[in-house]
Assembly symmetry: C2
Homo-oligomer: 351 residues x 2
Amino acid sequence: MTHAHARAGATTGGQGAVALLDRTRAVVDPRLRSTVETLPGSIRRVAMYHFGWEEADGTPATGQAGKAIRPALVLAAARALGGDPAPAVRAATAVELAHNFTLLHDDIVDEDPTRRHRPTAWNVFGVPDALMTGDAMLALALRLLAEDGHPASAAASARLAACVIELCAGQQADCAFEQRPPQEVTLDECLAMATAKTGALLGCSCALGALYAGAGEREVAALDAFGREAGLAFQLIDDLIGIWGDPDRTGKPAGADLVAHKKSLPVVAALTSGTVAGAELAGLYAEPALDEAGVRAAADAVERAGARDWAQTEAADRMARAVHELSLAVPDLEAAGDLLALAEFVTRRSR
Amino acid sequence: MTHAHARAGATTGGQGAVALLDRTRAVVDPRLRSTVETLPGSIRRVAMYHFGWEEADGTPATGQAGKAIRPALVLAAARALGGDPAPAVRAATAVELAHNFTLLHDDIVDEDPTRRHRPTAWNVFGVPDALMTGDAMLALALRLLAEDGHPASAAASARLAACVIELCAGQQADCAFEQRPPQEVTLDECLAMATAKTGALLGCSCALGALYAGAGEREVAALDAFGREAGLAFQLIDDLIGIWGDPDRTGKPAGADLVAHKKSLPVVAALTSGTVAGAELAGLYAEPALDEAGVRAAADAVERAGARDWAQTEAADRMARAVHELSLAVPDLEAAGDLLALAEFVTRRSR
């Protein structure tokens, strides 16, 4: 049902989403760049590097700032609710700045060495510079909204700030989970964390688009819920790819998350399943490292514990909820087409 | 002239400032606390610890959240411009949250082990938790303003966000200076850094108070300049204390900044003075450590290079400029009394 809905609504399916993202970048990237260029001196340089516009030495680079999924959601939500997307470009830019603030800080906290096939900002410029640049980028996002004369700007500002607080709590919970014994993290805690880390900003992007279209509270809440549910569906599918891979699309080997002992949603579902297979997985996760056979055994244990089926069903269920929420605010599926195409793109995209 | 001005204007001098800060805390602290208590789970806990309201294990603590100089400036500025300070309490709270965001992140970047006589948040909870809590606190500050129905809230929000960007650039510059050879940092760069790091938020506090009093652009700019100049005067005096001490007030030994090889304003003034004494100081700073005689020799070199006199004159000059700026917006020195008392308190306060 979900897919039937989504396909009916999507103007031209996945191709439509790709074209939509291209059009979004064409509109948002110049604004994003000119906004980032207002940052002072050294902070600007780190930000220009992070977005892929400059090399570490300041020479121009041809990188791409990102897929622009969140800005596309802002503009598509504004259109779906009958609004003019042009004034919402500022909100789309703010959301992309806020997203990149989280990337800069998450890479520090997770000690990730690379992002978008390049060394991360902290890796190149050191933790202090990357930290301060993230801070400035968050302030810039909220400044952009506060300086807007649009009637929705205060509400959008408050909503984005509240979302950032939720994102921080989600990231904090994620770090805390990694330090707790595997069986102690409940699936509910894990779902709440994923909602905060992944769903909140997707929901906020849709809500900001609705606000800029002059939508009422009920529509704004429905758009937020649409983005959150789609975000959780995305996370579940991303977690499945992290175990069983999606080799023909990404080339990423299966089992990557298992090698890293990541407590992804299917892993936690298995660990907390009370099954023999769940206990086997706990045993395998207790090992400091897993060889190829160990990774296969772990993936097999997740599947036998019923967690692969659970994650697939849960993802489909979340997408169904997302579509339902969207239909509350946008009964005309034609008008909702772009949002559905983006949701489908997000949940199918390669890692 | 500066002091005559300041004393004439101060309602009851230093005592007045102390009473003013007490009254500010009585009004702002409950609001600050109830706002911080809205933060989610673990982030709230780190924030409650940071403010001194809870111990690390979550039991109540009797600590004090800080002197509340910035909130006091907000409220005093609102009063000085004939406004009702009551609606400005929200802005005062936002400014204190933003200040504490900088403390949480600066302590990470500077690897400071203690703050307000207690282990710093990163030291107790780890870098990820302290970093995320700082992020959430910044978002909370800007959310508080965005959710305010006051006519000044959008302008205040934009101004605070712009100030945070400046603070980040200042902190980034400070870190960068510490890694450059001593003679390469110019005094102008150093003054700009101190203005960004210390003056900007004091100026912003005064500007926010003026905005909440409904003041015009000219008054707001003058109040901002007043806070910035007073902030730089404070920094210069703080730097003098870091070399020659203020033992009867703080018990802090003289020479602390020299032991730490800190490139404070008088030190940079001496290093860039082109004098023999400046070259001597550079030689002493090239040593990995200074013994008691070395610290005395370094302090003596700063003095012989003319940098002690320079810092004292510059501080007095900055205070004079601060008073001049204030007089542009508030010609009635009676009305400006509280702001002058706070400026005098800040520039005389113990470290």
